[in-house]
């Protein structure tokens, strides 16, 4: 199947700066939602501008539905964009905003009205159609922006941090709505975000970017459970990360002391590594067999409703953990299967990621 959007070794850098993207290759299949995440300035918005045609790559190629988009201006790319600020036209009503892409394409009035009416109903704004953007709430503006970007049946949809301007409560609901609309239209979607919860809960695949490069592309589960390195691990989800050195095939030395690990990790004895343990992998209480057990006390204990997130203080350093149980404990243990080994730490690469 031809990818809806296919980036091939795309490079762009902003004149006079170091910012931009370097050697990015990424294909989005029709109907697929790819979330691009990374810290601010990592190049994720640049990627969007390149696909939309607001920027032309310095090198590499962008294919849209299998055809090169080189030299094609934005208005001829057939790509829907939802901007972070929504960029709704302030002098037009919600209805006129949504009708705009059809109007500039010369769609006859009757047909236009029908499609816009349908779109308005689909995003639940039929009763707000005659309001102008300043008279709409943030969530309603967001829906108008989405409807406007979808009404002309674009070949792909690009969303630039679409939920960052909304209240936390609204954001979760809008996630489902965007996902629903995206599925309904079966449209290839690039979703830019710096919110890991958004990325993990919505995306078919996640692309993690830093310093203009793609570090890892994979399913949310993959990226979360098998991050390629410490940078990805620290950016996607919470993680305990310790520098380690292999003692033997089943043990790794860490600042906390030796940790037993499950086999099948590919590191040979003596090799340097980064040890990763996700907070939910840390189990409160003593281990039945005493393996990877640490005694100490609870340092910081944050109640988050259905679970609590804590720092457990051992005499060799803290361990971050997460648990649904609410009683106190004076020991934690880390089952060997919860320990993952990543390539050795590069302190320079971590300095800006954490």
């Amino acid at each position: 199947m031809t990818a809806a959007v296919d980036l091939r070794s795309v490079r762009y850098h902003y004149p006079g700066t170091l910012a931009g993207v370097a050697d990015v290759s990424l294909a989005i299949a029709p109907g697929e939602l790819v979330a691009v995440m990374g810290p601010s300035g990592c190049g994720k918005s640049t990627l969007l501008k390149l696909i939309a045609g607001f920027l032309e790559p310095d090198a590499g190629e962008i294919l849209i539905s299998g055809k090169s988009a080189a030299g094609l201006p934005p208005q001829r790319r057939q790509i829907g964009v939802v901007f972070q600020s929504y960029a709704l036209f302030p002098h037009m009503t919600a209805r006129d905003n949504i009708a705009y892409p059809l109007r500039v394409r010369g769609v006859p009035r009757r047909e236009r009205e029908q499609e816009v009416g349908q779109m308005l109903r689909r995003v639940g704004l039929a009763d707000r159609a005659e309001r102008r953007p300043p008279e709409l709430s943030g969530g309603q503006q967001q829906r108008v922006a989405l409807a406007r970007a979808l009404v002309f049946k674009p070949r792909a949809l690009l969303l630039d941090e679409p939920l960052s301007a909304l209240d936390a409560a609204l954001r979760v609901g809008m996630r489902d709505e965007i996902r629903h609309l995206q599925r309904e239209h079966a449209i290839a979607t690039l979703y830019i975000t710096h919110d890991q919860d958004e990325a993990l809960s919505m995306a078919d695949r996640i692309a993690v970017m830093r310093d203009g490069r793609l570090l890892q592309v994979g399913t949310p589960k993959d990226v979360y459970q098998r991050p390629v390195d410490a940078v990805v691990a620290s950016f996607v989800g919470q993680a305990n990360l310790w520098p380690g050195r292999m003692r033997d095939a089943a043990t790794v030395e860490t600042p906390l002391g030796p940790l037993r690990i499950a086999s099948d990790h590919g590191f040979s004895p003596g090799a340097g590594t980064t040890v990763m343990v996700r907070p939910e992998g840390v189990v409160p209480g003593r281990a039945p067999d005493g393996i990877n057990q640490f005694t100490g006390r609870l340092l910081r204990d944050r109640f988050l409703g259905s679970l609590r997130r804590y720092d457990f203080d051992t005499d060799r350093g803290p361990i971050a953990g997460e648990t649904p149980i609410s009683n106190m404990f004076d020991a934690v243990h880390i089952p060997p299967v919860a320990v993952r080994l990543l390539p050795p730490f590069d302190p320079a690469s971590m300095s800006t990621a954490t």
Binding site: V81, A87, P90, P134, E135, F152
Partner: protein
């Protein structure tokens, strides 16, 4: 706090009085029969207004001012909008800064200097146009355009017009469609408020007009100066008419701006 607010109220009142008294005196003087060495004029008459209206040179100057003002506004809009657009969308930051200095320069240069320049250029054999209405319009355009462009460029930044245009482009609009559907309607408020400033400046302009106007194309303020060599009542009445002219120009602009559908200013 209360004493601070009281002091502020006194200062404000004094300032309003300082602004208002000359206008009030003008109004009173324009209907006073005689005004020699007294605090206020004596007697009441509407004669001064009738005299000004009957005066051919004042009548001609009145229409000249209206004509110059309308032409200046029209040209300012025609030149100002594209210029502001180019200025705002120039990619290079240094180029934007340089052009900004260039278009704001007429604000810093006294109109007198500009006027002498016009005299030199338009009294030459190659361009013998000194005294024509168009030279007057050209001068007023140079003096007022910076104010219009400032208003437009400020609004473009405030509205994030560049992003609205990107959005329109992604939705399929070509350059002409973007300009007509997005840029112009978005700028209507700042365009109108800018044109009110242009109209007010053009109606009241004296320094440059006095130098470049021909005998038959003198605008109102230039002719007004003559009035002060005659009777006080006549001068007052003639000045009040200028004031009315300026107010009408501003009010007309404001009315047009007010009748435009209010898109901004309503908080959501």
């Amino acid at each position: 706090m209360a004493s601070g607010e009281g002091a502020l109220a006194i200062v404000t009142a004094c300032y309003l009085l300082y602004l208002g008294v000359p206008i009030i005196l003008l109004l009173i003087g324009s209907v006073g029969a005689t005004w020699y060495n007294t605090l206020l004029p004596q007697g009441f008459t509407g004669d001064w207004y009738l005299q000004v209206i009957a005066d051919g040179s004042f009548r001609r100057a009145f229409w000249t001012s209206l004509q110059v003002c309308s032409l200046t506004c029209a040209l300012a809009a025609l030149v100002g909008v594209p210029l502001a657009y180019v200025l705002n969308s120039a990619a290079d930051r240094r180029l934007r800064a340089a052009t900004r200095v260039a278009y704001l320069l007429p604000v810093a240069v006294p109109p007198l200097v500009l006027g002498f320049g016009f005299v030199l250029v338009f009294s030459s054999d190659a361009l013998p146009f000194l005294g024509s209405t168009w030279v007057l319009v050209g001068g007023h355009l140079a003096l007022t355009l910076p104010y219009l462009i400032s208003a437009l460029v400020g609004d473009m930044r405030h509205l994030a017009l560049a992003e609205l245009e990107q959005a329109a482009a992604s939705l399929g609009a070509n350059f002409a469609q973007r300009f007509l559907h997005i840029v112009l309607p978005s700028l209507r408020h700042s365009l109108l408020s800018g044109l009110i400033i242009v109209a007010a400046l053009s109606i009241g302009e004296f320094q440059l007009s006095n130098l470049v106007a021909g005998f038959l194309s003198r605008p109102y303020p230039v002719v007004l100066l003559q009035a002060f060599y005659g009777a006080t009542g006549f001068a007052c009445a003639a000045t009040v008419i200028l004031l009315a002219l300026a107010l009408i120009a501003a009010a007309a602009g404001a009315l047009i701006a007010g009748s435009a559908p209010a898109a901004r200013g309503i908080s959501g």
